[in-house]
């Protein structure tokens, strides 16, 4: 029984880790968009896109 609980808890931990990690990365993506580095990279990408037209 103890082993079963331990194994079950581990699966719960893995799920919790994956979901938490995904949420953190989604929040990071929202924050990234406002950073000067991202805006600079976006400006360069737009320049590249304009040059391709």
């Amino acid at each position: 029984m103890e082993t079963r609980e331990k194994k079950k808890r581990t699966t719960d931990e893995i799920i919790a880790y994956l979901l938490q990690s995904k949420r953190e990365m989604q929040e990071e993506i929202k924050r990234d968009a406002n950073s000067p580095e991202f805006q600079e990279a976006l400006a360069k990408l737009r320049e590249l896109n304009n040059n391709r037209k």
Binding site: R4, K7, K8, R9, T11, D12, I14, I15, Y17, L18, L19, S21, K22, M25, Q26, E28, I29, K30, D32, A33, E37, F38, A41, L42, K44, L45, R46, L48, N49, R52
Partner: protein
């Protein structure tokens, strides 16, 4: 034709691109050794996430086939750079739409993959019997493919389905 994309790197290997509708998407590959902790291949495991970074339209992004194509290109570039890497994708179930997300991910994968990849699907079940679809994508030529697949399948094993 895929959109032009840019690699900005960082801890979570970020890529981004902008659509014709001025929607900016960002993709991250986050190192996740925790998933196979204690396994000799744990350092090869990455979680894959995509989300909208900028959308000033006030509406949901419109359907755009170039988006899927661009994500596929980024995926291939990531694996071409590091062919031993493995990606894990979990479908969020907070709104009970996990099966729809899994279906969309499947459609995307089988439409754009070029037979160089293998996708393994598993379901993680928590103690409340909630189901969480998880997929792993790995290159067929990965030299550790058998061991990594076995370790991934072990993730989903629990007393309930033995």
């Amino acid at each position: 034709m895929p959109y032009q994309y840019s690699f900005i790197g960082g801890l979570n290997n970020s890529y981004f691109f902008e659509t014709v509708n001025k929607i900016v998407y960002e993709i991250k590959f986050k190192p996740s050794p925790y998933l196979l902790a204690g396994n000799e291949f744990s350092e090869l495991i990455y979680e894959f996430v995509i989300d909208v970074a900028i959308n000033n339209s006030g509406k949901n992004p419109p359907l755009d086939n170039e988006v899927s194509l661009t994500i596929a290109e980024i995926f291939k570039e990531f694996f071409n750079a590091y062919s031993e890497n493995v990606c894990i994708y979990i479908c969020d179930s907070s709104d009970n739409r996990q099966d729809i997300r899994r279906k969309k991910f499947d459609q995307w994968f089988y439409k754009y993959q070029n037979d160089s990849f293998i996708k393994i699907d598993e379901i993680l079940v928590d103690s409340n019997k909630n189901r969480y679809p998880v997929s792993m994508v790995i290159l067929k030529r990965n030299p550790y493919i058998k061991q990594i697949i076995a370790a991934f399948i072990e993730l989903s094993e629990n007393e309930a389905n033995k």
